[in-house]
């Protein structure tokens, strides 16, 4: 009896996730009345979405090649910090990064100031290149980490052999590095392509206009400006088809393992120019650090004089974030512990659906019964929980499998089952990955600027939305203060959870 009950728990969790994703999708498809022909502006959005995603993927992976190679073969002071910094954009709120990028590359930014000294015109950041800049900022580090993993997986003996055979750089590249890149780079590019397909906050702030609108942004515009729910639903179906197709292609490619650690091994090599490698390393470090520094410099002064609305929004955001962590871990734990294969499909549901599509569906479902803005915060927490679930599963499932492989027999022979097994074996050994998953979820939910834009009324806002509103009102100092606060909260939350998982987690 108890055994059967335990078997049911992962099923219930899966059913909940399935309902949370599939019901809104059904609502969207039902409202859209199937696939009806798109108007010209919607087609523009489709093309722009595909085009910017393809360019973002190509640029990110292309630039990551020299950077990852430099990191793979150079030992220098601060290398570990730089590799850690490469992980930071993942939990950096998009809107914070955008404000930082504006401060560096914007019309009144540092770069324009510098150009003005030479009598050159200011840079224009809005439009396709602004979107690309932001996407590369977020995805170059991801691509670098994936490729760095690939480089480190090349056995050191091959480089030693190459050195004894006196390979020239080109031979080295052709015979040793190119085969690895051909295996890993397409998968990395595909991952980035899929991520950029659902780009909303970047397009919202740096894109816009008929020439730079993604489908996700078009959904928002149909919602907020045209009050045309039917069109929003139609666009949501389009987004669903795009993301679904891309996810199917991605599944066919060998996807590199998104390593979250273990990038500290340096393979000794005897080739390459120190100068060139140094150039790439410095470039990527500056590219990542300058926008963050700009937020710190501009935000620090404004932090003390932030309006109450910002503090209020920060409180809401902390609640949303903690709510998302609670929901994600509650769902992820039984799913991660289940040894069934279909659990991976549950994770895929979260990847294939986008926040704005889910948001549209939930709006359609909720609207007939209660005012959507009354549930803006719970809905935001729930959607973020679903979005974070694939990451949590990716972290927890291998860890849970390893615990079973190493200690399962001992636990069986001691008749440790159910809650006792959870208490004595699983939870203590899963602490670190649980803390890490909680930290990621918390930071992602804290910084999310997506579904909340559909549901919020003028009086409620999460911190990212409040920040966006301040930017829209050109109160840039206050926006920078809010950005710094958001940055501190996101990283702080991640740090607390991650630390909590590590503390006393000795073996």
């Amino acid at each position: 009896m108890a055994d059967r009950l335990r078997g049911l728990i992962p099923l219930i969790a899966a059913a909940l996730v399935g309902a949370a994703v599939l019901l809104p999708l059904a609502a969207v498809i039902w409202r859209a009345g199937g696939l009806s022909p798109l108007d010209g502006r919607s087609w523009d959005a489709v093309w722009f979405t595909l085009w910017q995603a393809a360019l973002s993927a190509a640029l990110s992976v292309g630039l990551a090649v020299p950077v990852a190679r430099a990191l793979a073969r150079r030992r220098f002071r601060g290398r570990a910090a730089l590799v850690a910094l490469l992980g930071a954009p993942f939990i950096l709120p998009v809107i914070v990064a955008i404000l930082g990028l504006l401060a560096v590359f914007g019309q009144k930014g540092w770069l324009s100031d510098g150009l003005a000294l030479f009598g050159l015109p200011a840079v224009k950041i809005y439009g396709l290149h602004g979107v690309l800049l932001a996407h590369v900022f977020f995805n170059l580090p991801l691509a670098t980490r994936l490729l760095l993993q690939g480089w480190q997986d090349i056995p050191a003996e091959r480089f030693r052999l190459a050195a004894t055979l006196g390979f020239r750089p080109w031979t080295m590249f052709r015979l040793i590095e190119w085969p690895m890149l051909r295996r890993i780079a397409p998968g990395a590019a595909m991952v980035i392509f899929v991520i950029c397909l659902s780009s909303f906050a970047v397009a919202l702030t740096l894109g816009g206009g008929p020439k730079a609108t993604t489908v996700e942004l078009a959904i928002y515009q149909a919602f907020r400006f045209d009050f045309d729910i039917g069109k929003a639903a139609q666009l949501a179906v389009v987004q669903l088809v795009l993301a679904g197709a891309a996810a199917l292609v991605a599944m066919r490619l060998t996807l590199p393992e998104a390593g979250f650690g273990g990038l500290d091994r340096i393979v000794p090599r005897w080739d390459g120019s120190r100068l060139l490698d140094g150039f790439w390393i410095a470039l990527v470090a500056l590219f990542l650090l300058l926008p963050l520094a700009a937020i710190g410099l501009r935000g620090a002064g404004a932090l003390a004089s932030l309006p109450t609305s910002v503090w209020q929004a920060a409180q809401y955001s902390v609640c949303v974030s903690l709510g998302a962590v609670l929901v994600t871990l509650t769902l992820a734990l039984p799913l991660a512990l289940s040894r069934r294969r279909w659990v991976e499909l549950v994770g895929l549901l979260g990847i294939a659906s986008s926040p704005l599509v889910l948001g549209t569906g939930l709006y359609l479902m909720i609207n007939p019964f209660i005012a959507p803005w009354d549930v803006a915060l719970p809905v935001t927490a729930a959607v973020n929980a679903v979005m974070a679930l694939p990451f949590a599963l990716r972290i927890l499932r291998p860890a849970a499998a390893q615990i079973e492989a190493e200690h399962g027999r001992l636990a069986d022979s001691l008749d440790l089952h159910g809650l006792a097994r959870l208490r004595w074996l699983v939870l203590p050994r899963l602490r670190r990955p649980l803390g890490f998953a909680a930290g990621l979820t918390g930071a992602l939910a804290m910084g999310d600027l997506g579904v909340i834009t559909l549901f919020a009324d003028p009086d409620t806002a999460t911190l990212p939305l409040q920040m966006y509103r301040l930017m829209g009102a050109y109160r840039m100092d206050q926006a920078a203060g809010a950005a710094l606060l958001l940055l501190l909260l996101s990283f702080g939350l991640f740090w607390i959870f991650d630390r909590g998982g590590r503390a006393r987690a000795d073996t």
Binding site: S413, L414, D415, D506
Partner: protein, 229 residues
């Protein structure tokens, strides 16, 4: 009495059969070439590996029972302790899966003292030497109070001196508790010192147990091949 009734284990192209009895309180060494299925035999008796035929203890079939419900305590080649739990917690799991009562804590301390680890309650496995870790596992075996012990080369990682020390301790405690012991080993000398009976596993058959002295006095072909004589 442990009875293996037409026990057969088939995995891909590996097969092993056993059909014999062991009287209560007997210490049996299981020897044979590596890959022959010594560990698999123990895993099948304990219920980790599926097998056809029957395993009985005192005439009662064990086949329907999960490993933890069988009257069996097992020591593996490694991972015999949970690394995140203290020695006392590891040993305590033999008594209760809840918080230990004062009385139970006393018994844990006594068991640790019995294996020579007085005052080691709070240590975690990483703070113990290999030999000490084996002793903690042995203390747990002591409190588990199961009549049948299956030892799958638990001391293989220890040096020869430490190993025979541990074997002597197991020998002693098993005698006190009246436990029936099946121990896999690849060292004939260990087998001779520890066991009363020998099971040779070779060519897909776990032969019926025979008296140690007799086996070593007149080794059959399988044993000769193994011993390299």
């Amino acid at each position: 009495m442990l009875t293996l009734e037409g026990l057969q284990i088939i995995q891909d192209d590996f097969r092993l059969c056993a059909d014999w009895k062991v009287a209560k309180g007997t210490r049996v060494a299981i020897i044979g070439p590596s890959g022959g299925g010594k560990s698999t035999l123990l895993a099948a008796i304990c219920g980790f590996t599926p097998a056809t035929g029957r395993v009985l203890w005192d005439g009662a079939g064990l086949d329907a029972l999960a490993p933890g419900k069988r009257p069996i305590a097992m020591l593996f080649q490694d991972q015999n302790l949970f690394p995140h739990l203290t020695a006392a917690q590891n040993v305590g799991l033999a008594l209760s899966q809840k918080r230990l009562t004062t009385d139970q804590q006393m018994r844990v301390a006594q068991a640790l003292a019995r294996v020579g680890l007085e005052g080691f309650e709070g240590r975690k496995p990483a703070q113990l030497s290999g030999g000490q870790q084996s002793r903690v596992a042995l203390a747990r075996l002591l409190l588990q109070d199961r009549p049948l012990w299956l030892l799958d080369e638990p001391f293989a990682a220890l040096g020869p001196g430490l190993r025979s020390e541990m074997l002597a301790l197991v020998h002693q405690i098993a005698l006190e508790m009246g436990a029936t012991v099946l121990m896999v080993t690849h060292d004939p000398e260990d087998a001779r010192k520890f066991a009363q009976m020998i099971v040779v596993v070779d060519q897909g058959v776990a032969q019926a147990p025979r008296d140690v002295d007799e086996v070593f006095a007149n080794p059959d072909q399988a044993l000769q091949d193994y011993l390299g004589r």
